[in-house]
């Protein structure tokens, strides 16, 4: 198996695995965060704006983990430096 094939296989498999495994944790975390926010909203409806704003900020921070995994996956598919390198080598030969 030459290096072009190896790099292609590794990039594709890793890209799929990255986003698949990387979205499990944030999804579970966001579910717990929203559930807790809903129960505290039910207990204290007067502080709804504070709870909602804090919920959104917290969700954005949790979401950024999934965004990091997504960015790594996109880099592997579209802006892969190893792939560009071997393609340039193969084109140069």
């Amino acid at each position: 198996m030459d290096s072009i094939t190896l790099i292609a296989i590794a990039s594709i498999v890793t890209a799929g695995l990255t986003i698949a495994l990387g979205s499990i944790g944030p999804a579970l975390g966001e579910g717990r965060a929203v559930a807790t926010a809903l129960s505290s909203l039910a207990q204290q409806p007067d502080s709804a704006t504070t709870i909602t704003r804090t919920l959104f900020v917290g969700l954005a921070m949790i979401e950024s983990i999934a965004i990091y995994c997504f960015v790594v996956s996109m880099i592997l598919i579209f802006a892969n430096p190893f792939w560009n390198h071997v393609i340039a080598q193969a084109a140069g030969k």
Binding site: T50, V57, E63, I67, Y68, M74
Partner: protein, 231 residues
């Protein structure tokens, strides 16, 4: 499939490139600046106000109230910086309705520049409020051992701001591009509505996080009062 508007080149002269990011950023700057200038030419303080002035007033007072809710008491000092962040990112994602437009925040250069602005603004406002010594002392709170961790947390907060905004905007445009090749009729419209929603939420998150970082750098650190117990 384009990864970012950096790859749309409108004009090139040697090393100097006019790509999609720069052109769309200039267009947004022009719309924001010219629109505000036109609306604020004749401001009235009486009961008769034009609807555009009311719109601007709603926006500005809304942002000021949000900044105050976060914990910054004198919100009029910060509304320029934080309001600009919010309005730029919100307008950038709102204009995706216009065909042929790609949000410039979908390029890592724009979001990195905005995050660097926040990185510079936090010490700037911190030193303005507390003086140089007071601000630098906040890095060794609560103990000196925390100094490298505080510095690392500053840098990683900035990185997280940039990548979060970039990832959200880029994923919106990429989902749209992918769906247009698969089911081009109704589904891309639903996803573009979702993209608008996440764009607005991300604009809000970006400016609120910047406000929270500035608030934590400018809060007054009171010495803990001693307990006077009469024996």
């Amino acid at each position: 499939m384009r990864l970012s508007p950096d790859e749309m080149i409108f004009w090139q002269y040697g090393l100097f490139k006019l790509n999609g990011t720069v052109v769309f950023t200039w267009a947004l700057m022009f719309v924001l600046a010219a629109g505000s200038k036109l609306i604020t030419r004749k401001l009235s303080t009486g009961l008769e106000r034009s609807r555009w002035q009311s719109l601007l007033e709603i926006v500005v007072t809304g942002i000021e109230k949000q900044i105050q809710d976060v914990g910054l008491r004198h919100s009029e000092r910060y509304v320029g910086f934080l309001g600009t962040l919010f309005l730029f990112v919100a307008l950038a994602s709102l204009c995706t309705i216009i065909p042929g437009y790609e949000p410039p925040t979908g390029s890592l250069s724009t979001t990195a520049a905005l995050a660097l602005c926040v990185l510079v603004a936090v010490p700037f406002f911190g030193i303005k409020e507390q003086g140089l010594g007071g601000y630098l002392k906040s890095y060794v709170e609560p103990t000196v051992i925390m100094l490298p961790f505080n510095i690392i947390s500053e840098i990683s907060r900035t990185l997280a701001l940039a990548v979060r905004l970039f990832g959200n905007m880029m994923s919106g445009t990429m989902i749209l591009a992918i769906l247009l090749t698969i089911t081009p009729l109704i589904f891309p419209i639903a996803m573009s509505v979702l993209g608008l929603l996440t764009g607005m939420v991300q604009a809000y998150i970006f400016s609120i996080l910047a406000a929270v970082y500035i608030a934590s750098a400018t809060r007054v650190r009171k010495p803990t009062p001693e307990l006077n117990v009469k024996r």
